[in-house]
Subunit: 393 residues, 2 copies
């Protein structure tokens, strides 16, 4: 793969690709900007996707610039949101920012990273500078943005400060004289504003590379701190391992591609193995990356030990709740009986419960009349050490 | 008339009228704000309408605050405009502002006027303060404004800075703790933003009093510096007198009401006299107001002397060009003949021209074949010292 191909691999959108080729061919050391807003104390594996890209540039001798948006965070990036972000105090922002660097260096080479804060320039600027910046963009161009357009049409309030966010982020590119800006795919509009402002300032326009948004643990929404579906850089080895093990098989291949940078051929080869094995390998590798070679293996062993102690098999008969014909809730006895012959008759099941041999998700049942509501998540019903069924929502 | 009635006389809109009554009844000394943006070096008679109102408050012991918008002018008030204002430099703004005060004191009592500049507070504030202000208003509320709404629908660009103008002007009211803000009727939205920001800041909301916009010399558009249809405070006595004499009879009564503060009864009485006499009195009184008692009379004498020297009567036969049946242009001879018998036959008229006895708007005609185009303004044709006709466009 050429340097260009590597550097745009996994990209969602590349704006100015020809410029990138030219600058690479000219042997230019590129200034590559990645901005993070310290809205919460933790970086997540969602950040890892763009951090990996920045590291690729860094490994090829380009100048990685990690921009801590301590000033932008005062505004709150409205991208992709349906409401105004809550306000953080300067103290909260500073506290969050302080933990970011240590976390970022799990991916980036600290020796080769230029760390900047946008309070460096905006903290010095006056009220008037904000007005002059606001002069450089029109209302209609902002309202063309999908998220703003939708909110405007839905009569959901958009604060004027939200129109200023993209301008402030774009001005960062001018201040940093960025050659390239990286971001999630929801950042494309903001990154383009950077090009616009650089052009106005007589600079070369930055190349914009956006990366796909990593799906969160729920398997549907973007991984984000506000959705609480994330793996954090600061999670313990056990948390990382366990959370990775909880993702669906489908999402797993995205993680291989975006977090482990596996190419399609490598992924095709991996798919030859059992998905459970692949998931364990992924989980172990990611733990290794954050806690050092070998820590993943230790976590894997611990994980398997728990499961073997609990003697819960990886495969078992599985039923959808709705297929059992039980309505919105049912007694445990009726539920177990509805799965077939495995647990015996209802009176046998009742007796097993009285003996303390029945568990629902590892919790021993004591009341033979216990009621089970239609579950929201898979639930495992177990009698003794051999008989298991899984009920799906 | 009660104090309240006097203070709201001539108002276009009063917001918070009950509050005004209450504060007056409580004997409060009210802080009355009037902002002017030094976009051009001259105050005009358009400003005089609101200055007169401020003077009424001043005369009743309230605190007049004249706010020179040296900072706001950096943005340019978008109210009622169909495009973005041109930018002024700080030097131009300072120069314009410097002449404003002297002019303002033609109406206001300098001893009792608190003069402020909004650079006092905004000049000290940071980039961040602008963001915090922008947080206090929504995009949709701005786009509800007629002028913005129209421009947005017509795909005419609105710069984001224009959304900040009303907020900046409103913040002035917070800084000044204004009880009342005065403005032209096109300022109502901006004045209401002041109320909004005062409420957010925990202050009592200002009462808003808007005054009608004075019609300019053209008789149709709002008097404004940018339309060049204005009388300036700094115009010479001759200019003021001449410009007032040029307005239509209809507009004259507006000037009596808004510049001379004549009430309906007084105006009804004035209408008993000949309109030309009323207009001369108006012109003379306005010259007096700016150049001292007696200067208007002197100007009137000078004006009448010119007209009597020229021996042009105030009344004369008047024709509309279209009624003469002459097409788009005609010879002077044909035109004069078309007005009837006054000037005699065409050959007589031709002879009069050769003798140098014919004038068109005071200019002697020498060519008997001179062509007259359909006039854009009234034109007076004259033969000798007795015979006059006026041709209307």
């Amino acid at each position: 793969m050429s340097a260009y191909e590597t550097l745009v691999s996994n990209a969602d959108t590349v704006i100015g690709g020809d410029d990138l080729k030219e600058r690479l061919d000219a042997g230019k050391r590129l200034r590559v900007k990645l901005g993070v807003d310290p809205t919460r104390p933790d970086l997540t594996f969602g950040h890892m996707v763009v951090f990996n890209k920045l590291r690729q540039f860094q490994d090829r001798g380009h100048q990685a610039i990690l921009l801590i948006g301590d000033f932008t965070t005062l505004i709150g990036d409205p991208s992709g949101r349906s409401d105004l972000r809550p306000t953080l105090t300067k103290e909260e922002i500073a506290q969050n920012a302080s933990t970011y660097l240590e976390q970022a260096y799990k991916i980036l080479d600290p020796e080769k990273t230029e760390v900047r804060h946008n309070s460096e320039w905006f903290g010095e600027q006056g009220f008037e500078d904000c007005l002059l910046l606001a002069r450089k963009m029109t209302v209609s161009r902002m309202l063309e943005r999908d998220d703003f357009s939708k909110r405007y049409k839905d009569n959901k309030p958009i604060s004027i400060i939200e129109f200023l966010y993209p301008l402030v982020q774009g001005q960062d590119s001018v201040e940093l004289q960025a050659d390239i800006e990286l971001g999630g795919s929801d950042q494309l509009f903001n990154l383009l504003v950077g090009r616009h402002l650089q052009k106005e300032a007589g600079q070369e326009e930055q190349i914009c590379i956006t990366l796909p948004l990593l799906v969160g643990l729920d398997g549907t929404k973007k991984m984000s701190k506000s959705q609480d579906n994330f793996i954090a850089f600061s999670d313990s080895p056990k948390e990382i391992f366990g959370k990775v093990m909880s993702i669906s098989d489908e999402v797993m291949w995205d993680y291989y591609r975006l977090l482990m940078l596996k190419n399609p051929q490598e992924i095709a080869a991996l798919k030859e193995a059992h998905p459970m094995k692949c998931k364990k390998d992924l989980a172990a590798n990611l733990v290794d990356q954050f806690y050092g070679e070998g820590s993943g293996k230790a976590e894997l062993a611990a994980f398997e030990k728990v499961f073997s102690q609990n003697k819960i098999p990886e495969d078992m008969p599985t039923f959808e709740w709705s297929a059992l014909g039980l309505g919105d809730s049912a007694s445990c006895v009726d539920t177990m009986a509805a799965t077939g012959d495995l647990f015996g008759s209802k009176s046998e099941i009742r007796r097993l419960i009285k003996q303390g041999a029945v568990r629902a998700d590892q919790v021993k049942l004591t009341d033979p009349n216990a009621i089970l509501a239609k579950p929201d998540a898979p639930i495992i019903l177990q009698a003794g050490k051999r008989k298991f069924v899984k009920i799906l929502p």
